[in-house]
Each structure stands twice: as structure tokens, then as C-alpha cells.
Point group: C2
Chain length 339, copies 2
Amino acid sequence: MKKLVLLAALTLMSCQAPVKEENPAPTFGIVIHGGAGTILRKNMTPEMEAAYRATLETAVRTGYEILKAGGTSQEAVEKTIHVMEDSPLFNAGKGAVLTADETIELDASFMNGATLDAGAIAGVQTIKHPITAAIAVMEDSPHVMLSGKGAEAFAQAQGLELVAPKYFFTERRINSLKRVKEKEQQTAWSAEEWQDFKNQKFGTVGCVALDQAGNLAAGTSTGGMTNKKWNRIGDAPIIGAGTYANNASCAISATGWGEYFIRSVVAHDIAALMEYKGLSIQEAARVVIHEKVAKLGGDGGIVGIDRQGNIAMEMNTAGMYRAHIDAEGNLTVKIYKDE
Amino acid sequence: MKKLVLLAALTLMSCQAPVKEENPAPTFGIVIHGGAGTILRKNMTPEMEAAYRATLETAVRTGYEILKAGGTSQEAVEKTIHVMEDSPLFNAGKGAVLTADETIELDASFMNGATLDAGAIAGVQTIKHPITAAIAVMEDSPHVMLSGKGAEAFAQAQGLELVAPKYFFTERRINSLKRVKEKEQQTAWSAEEWQDFKNQKFGTVGCVALDQAGNLAAGTSTGGMTNKKWNRIGDAPIIGAGTYANNASCAISATGWGEYFIRSVVAHDIAALMEYKGLSIQEAARVVIHEKVAKLGGDGGIVGIDRQGNIAMEMNTAGMYRAHIDAEGNLTVKIYKDE
């Protein structure tokens, strides 16, 4: 019995092969986020809330259908993120926030949990689907991370869809930048204004998935932080911080105040707590988000999934746009923390 | 006795405060690397070898004197790396390798193990001391990572020393790029040519230090990979991959084939194996470099130090330029793996 338990533990910890034989009805699942922050009911109109819930559902169903049909977690993550990149509601692709120079600089990354292959782009201005560019870097370049004009030249050479920068701009984000710039001039801030300022940092989108072959994948895409300066790079394109996937542990996509997520190596730390300390995905996510990131002063959240289909949707903010569908087709869509 | 052992283990694993009371003669130490790769005696002249050993010694003594006088690990890391950035021998600062576009793009990062503060820059062309710019990002910006022209504008605004790009160029690196570009045209490569090609990826410099107050710090600086394209970013400026420091575990600086080091989240993985699994710094470094990175096909090495002054200088290549001085002033300078 002891040997059996040990064997089971070792299998859970290091098994790279699909677990089909032990589990005749293969499990799968998908979890997404559309950013965490001070999302409060009092600031939300019914129409706005309905729009967010509808787009989250459309996005998560896109990946779910791919997984249900036997598609890969990679394809599910990519296509799901496209829905959110195409929506002006989220800070990724169309609807991305503006930099201090009134430009758009998009970051994205992807990681394949079966092979530990990864790709990322930072600071691009013309790539319609940054997540697809990150996957192209992984598959078609000798590099993992490309940036700026070079990343755009690579995307163009790969035949990816490019758009004029104006495609990404929305009235809402232009107004956000104006507000943040006005705030910058102020010397004293109220608690509410500070909260409002912190809220400008959020809205990244991400997706993690487990496919029927037992393979995990994670992807993250963002416009970064409103009013960001000096070609700032956040956590979204950093493998280990904003995105991590490893069949030995879990797939994680993060959203939040990127500086704190880089310093906490959030996505890899959750995976390490699972692999090395035996924590469940929920326990590991709670430790990292509520103890480690919060202790440094950082806000945000993560979504994650492990090879058994267990999921985490953890945040230390008032809300996180998030959704999940399990192998039985049960849909969850949530916005506020207390739902 | 059992309780005592447990207490000691808990103290080792989670103690954040200086350990002065338990250890009346405070320990300290410093370890550096100047790149790992296929460094073979047959390719080295006695003059070249002597030059490398002399510069490694000058660099490590610079930091050692700061630590001995009670200075911080941060200052020791910064000033030690300056010596290697100023030397044309190493692929960092002056002597950096060339990109495919015949430019220089420098990356660097720094992390403070006491506060988990961090800073990084990627793809800069005019900053004389990239490690100082990384520290300035940490101390004087709200961001952790800046890139390209933005990072240069920030450095200029901070009054950091800028130089014309030609300052960094050396005959040796210009010739290296020519050789690699010729090789790229070849369809079939001999094993030796492949080895030679892989070798173009190395030469990063790094430093880790423990100061008398018990605080760890790590820094890494590089020109990246010869013939790199599309504004490629390697592991050196990625917190968690090329650089990581945490008083709860260790300080690590990596050098090697950056793509594999990003995918393996090398520096943070070593720290996690120590903190969560109780491995020593040497054991953790061996697992990550010889099992994890090597299994993916990656080459390179790391230097590391923990809060007890235990060090690691681990590589899966034929050599790594490296040096160490302990609290008693004992100097080690090594180049080949089998020294």
C-alpha cells in the first residue's frame, strides 16, 4: 500500500505521458481571465456588466469547443485569446491602454507545458493578434523573446496580420490616459484617487487549458499599464512571471501590477510550490497571491489549471473578469471577488 | 534534538533577519562568472588565458574589498560587474557581441535579495554600464524592466554615462559575426562547426554577493548572442531566468544559451529547490543545470551564493570563466571545467 501511494505520488509529480489508461474518460478544461483590479458593482452599469459576461462566455466557449473536439491546449489558448484581443473591453489587442507617449505597446507570451517551448513579444505596435506572434516566435524563430521593431519585422516576415496602430485605439482608453496624466500633476491624492490610479494598471487577458491528451498550455496578452514610460516591459511577456506551463505541475496566466509579478516570479513560483512542496494548485495560488505578492504591496490575480483539471482563479483585488468550463461542460463566469 | 534540528531547518529556510547573533564573525563572499562555453585549452594562448585570469581576479577583488569594508552586496555586485563591462574580453559593455544588423544591443538586470527589488534593461545601445542602468530602473523608476530607446531616454534623464555605439565594438567581435554569418549560409555543418556556432552564444558576465549584514544580491550583464535578430531578448535581463536573489534562499546569475535558460526559469528554479525542497545550493544548481537545462538541449552555467556563504559554480559546458573569494580572503580563479 505504501509502495502504491509512493508510486501514485511519483506518477503525479513526474509523469509526462497522457494519463489515459488510468482515466478512461479523459478530463480537460479551460480557464480565462480578462484582468483583475478594483472592479466594483457601484461603478458598473448593467449593460457593461452584461457585455463583459457575454464576451467572457464567447471566449471560453471557443477554447472549450476545440478541447472537446480533441484539439490541443495550444490551439484552445490561442483562439480563446483572439476573442479577447478582438474585443475593445479588454486591455489586449483592440482596446489596449495607451503609453505616456500616446502610443500602443503590446506584450504577449505563450508556453507549451508538454515541451516547455515558449515564445514572447514585447512592445509591438502593429500586430493584430500578439498571442499568435508569441506562438510564431516559439515555432518559427530560434529565439524565445523578441521586442519592438524587430518583433514586428519578424511577424511581417511570417505573414501575420498587421494593422495600422489606430486600429487599437478606443475612446475609453484615450480618456483613461488623460485622467492618469491629470492625476500625475496632483501632489496629494485621496485614497479613492490612489485606488483609481492603481486600477489603470489592469486588464490583461490570459488563458490556460488542459487538453484530452493531458497537455497543458498557458498564454497571456496585454497592452500593459496606462501611461507606461520608457518602453516599459511588464510581466505578461515574461516566462515564469506572467505565463508558465509545465506538465509536471500546472499552467498559469497572471494579471496585475506587473512589476510585483516579475519580482515574485509568480507563475513559476506557483508551479514550484506544487512540484517541490506538494501543494494543490489552489493552495499554491493562495500562498503566492495573498502572502507573497500582497506582502510586497502588489495587486492582481491568476488563473491556473493542473493535469487533473483542478483549477485556481485567485485574486487579491475586488474583482477579476474570469470564466471556466470543465470537461462536463459546466460554465462559470464571474467578475466580483465575492461571487 | 529533533526539535532543535527542525528549528535550525526552519531558521535556514525562512529567516529574513541578519544572523549576526548566531554567528559573531559575520560571513560574506562573492562569486563571479564571465561566460560559459566550449572553452578548451587547445584554443587558448598562454597570453589570452593570463589576461582572462587577471581580469577575473581584478573584478572579484573589487567586490571583495567592498564587502570586507562592510559595504552592501548591491554595491559589490555593481562595481565588480563594471570591471568586466569595461574589459573587451567579456561579452558585456565594451567587447559585446554584434547583432545580425551589426549593432550592439545590451541587456542587464539586478536583484536585491533583502527587498526583492529588481531592475532590468534590454536592447540598449549607448549605456556604458548596463548594470548601473538596471539598478537605476530599480531605484528611480516605477518600473522593473525598460527596453530600447525608452531605456536610453531614462538613463540619460538619470545622468548615467552614455557613449557612442562605436565604443563597444571590438575587432574580435566583428570577426565573430562574419564567421557566424558565413556559417549560416552553409547547409551541412560538421560537429566542430556546430560546437563553434553554439559557442557564439556565450560570454555574459555576472556576480552574486553576500554582505556582512546577511543580504544577498545578484547582477547579470551581456551583449547577448552573436548574430541575434529581431531585437531578441535573452535570459540576462529576465528576473527569474538570468538573475534572481532572495534572502530566503540564494543569489544566482546565469550564463548560457539564453532561450533554454528562460524556458527553464533557471535562477528562480534553483532558489525554489532550496526553499521548498531543502536542497543545498550545489545540489539545486546541479539538478537545474545538468538535469533540467541539459535535458532540453541547453548549454551554460550559473554562479550562486547562499546566506551561509556556500557557493555554486556549476556548468554543463567545457568551461566557464569564474572566480570566488570567501570571507577569509581565499581566492579561486578558474576557466576550465576540470580545474
